[in-house]
């Protein structure tokens, strides 16, 4: 309790104008780094708002969800142009993510913010762990999954050697992980693209490019499900959501424009270090009940 009071006393007194400019600047960096590294900016918006600007976790989650939608819808045309999105898989798995998001949004009011902070730390650590791994495609061998056949999920994607056919496996397991991704997205105000890629890439064995672009399609839809609930519940504070949305959107659009292959490797390493530091901070503050 003593620490709780101290943390509020440490908050610097600023005007609305100053806060908006600082938050817009920080969100711009988050959007830019998120687009350049492919890890998404949403994952660091919430720690930035809570740890740096002492914003209540619920306002931070509301503002962050809005920026997740902006990035997803803003980048849609660029992703479609590449021609990898599998709309059938996307819409089928969205049944799981939207139900997960609505349940997560319903649960969030019952879970103490300190527990959410610890959960956030764990998800950040997992994101850092995944970002250090190389992505490899594991084409499906053997008989097709009966669910995939029934739902007509198999498709093709463009490669330098022409169209390549692919199929998916373990559809029920992928569906279950997507439900979890939806819950996490609502509880923490993130896109949870990392968990979505885990479901499609690792579990269902979709080609990497197909899973990342289909994931972008799904992130906005999932975030919209819980953002609606949070709007009604008063989590979306215009004074905060405005600089976060504009900042992240501008950062993400610029990032998509200057994106260029291998150069981002060192940037990815720096971003991973930032994520690990934020993870421990969220775990510490959550465990001590400071958030």
């Amino acid at each position: 309790m003593h620490g709780h009071i101290a943390s509020h006393a440490r908050a610097i007194i600023v005007t609305v104008l100053t806060l908006a400019l600082l938050v817009a600047g920080g969100s711009f960096c988050a959007g830019l780094l998120g687009a350049l590294t492919g890890l998404g900016g949403g994952i660091i918006v919430v720690p930035m708002l809570t740890l740096l600007f002492h914003v209540d976790l619920r306002y931070a989650i509301g503002a962050s969800l809005v920026s997740v939608i902006a990035t997803s819808s803003g980048a849609a045309a660029a992703y479609v142009r590449e021609g990898y999105t599998n709309v059938r898989i996307g819409i089928f798995l969205e049944v799981a993510t939207t139900i997960g998001a609505l349940i997560g949004a319903a649960l969030s009011g019952l879970i103490p913010t300190s527990a959410l902070s610890v959960l956030f730390g764990v998800v950040l650590l997992y994101t850092a762990y995944r970002s250090g791994k190389r992505h490899e495609d594991h084409p499906v061998e053997g008989p097709p999954d009966p669910w995939s056949t029934r739902l007509r999920l198999a498709s093709t994607y463009p490669t330098p050697n022409g169209l390549v056919a692919y199929d998916v496996v373990r559809v029920p397991a992928g569906f279950a992980i997507m439900f979890l991704a939806g819950c996490l997205s609502a509880l923490l105000g993130i896109g949870s693209g990392v968990v979505k890629v885990l479901a499609m890439d690792q579990t269902m064995r979709l080609p990497f490019k197909v899973s990342t672009t289909t994931s972008n399609f799904m992130i906005g839809v999932t975030a919209a499900a819980s953002a609606g609930v949070y709007l009604h519940r008063g989590y979306i504070e215009p004074t905060l959501a405005f600089p976060v949305m504009i900042g992240v959107l501008c950062g993400a659009l610029l990032g998509a424009r200057i994106l260029g292959g291998a150069r981002v490797l060192w940037l990815r390493r720096i971003f991973t270090v930032v994520i690990v530091v934020l993870a421990f901070e969220m775990l510490y503050k959550g465990a001590r009940g400071l958030l």
Partner: protein, 131 residues
């Protein structure tokens, strides 16, 4: 893959491109509304002390569709921002609605049903959702 499948896939892709462009336009319009409301807010209330460290929840004028629309109609800056944010939240909903139409045109009954379910869940959250 035979020729008619390829024509089909091509038509799908073209439709997806149109949807992607519409979403981009939607985001830009939402962003412009948010920015206009935001600038007005900073001009009017920029000097106030900011304190968001304690959660109070937004009043109905900022957290219900009717409250936001009537406030935005009178050009109250905070409600103009919220209106832009609601437009933004509507963009993925529109994407799902377009997908529904695309499956309908293809006479793919099963996926029309799946897409309608997702759309219903989204509208539930946006219109009635209190969690």
């Amino acid at each position: 893959m035979n020729e008619s499948d390829q024509t089909h896939a091509r038509a799908d892709h073209d439709l997806e491109m149109v949807i992607g462009r519409l979403l981009q336009i939607g985001v830009l319009i939402a962003g412009a509304v948010v920015l206009a409301g935001g600038v007005a807010l900073l001009v009017h209330q920029g000097g106030a002390i900011a304190n968001f460290s304690v959660f109070a929840g937004e009043p109905p004028t900022l957290s219900t569709l009717t409250g936001v629309v009537s406030g935005a109609w009178h050009l109250h800056p905070a409600q103009v921002i919220q209106l832009g944010l609601i437009l933004l939240i509507a963009t993925p909903v529109a994407r799902v609605a377009f997908t529904l139409v695309a499956f309908w045109v293809q006479r793919d009954r099963f996926y029309v049903g799946v897409t309608a379910l997702v759309l219903a869940l989204l509208l539930y959250g946006l219109i009635w959702g209190r969690g």
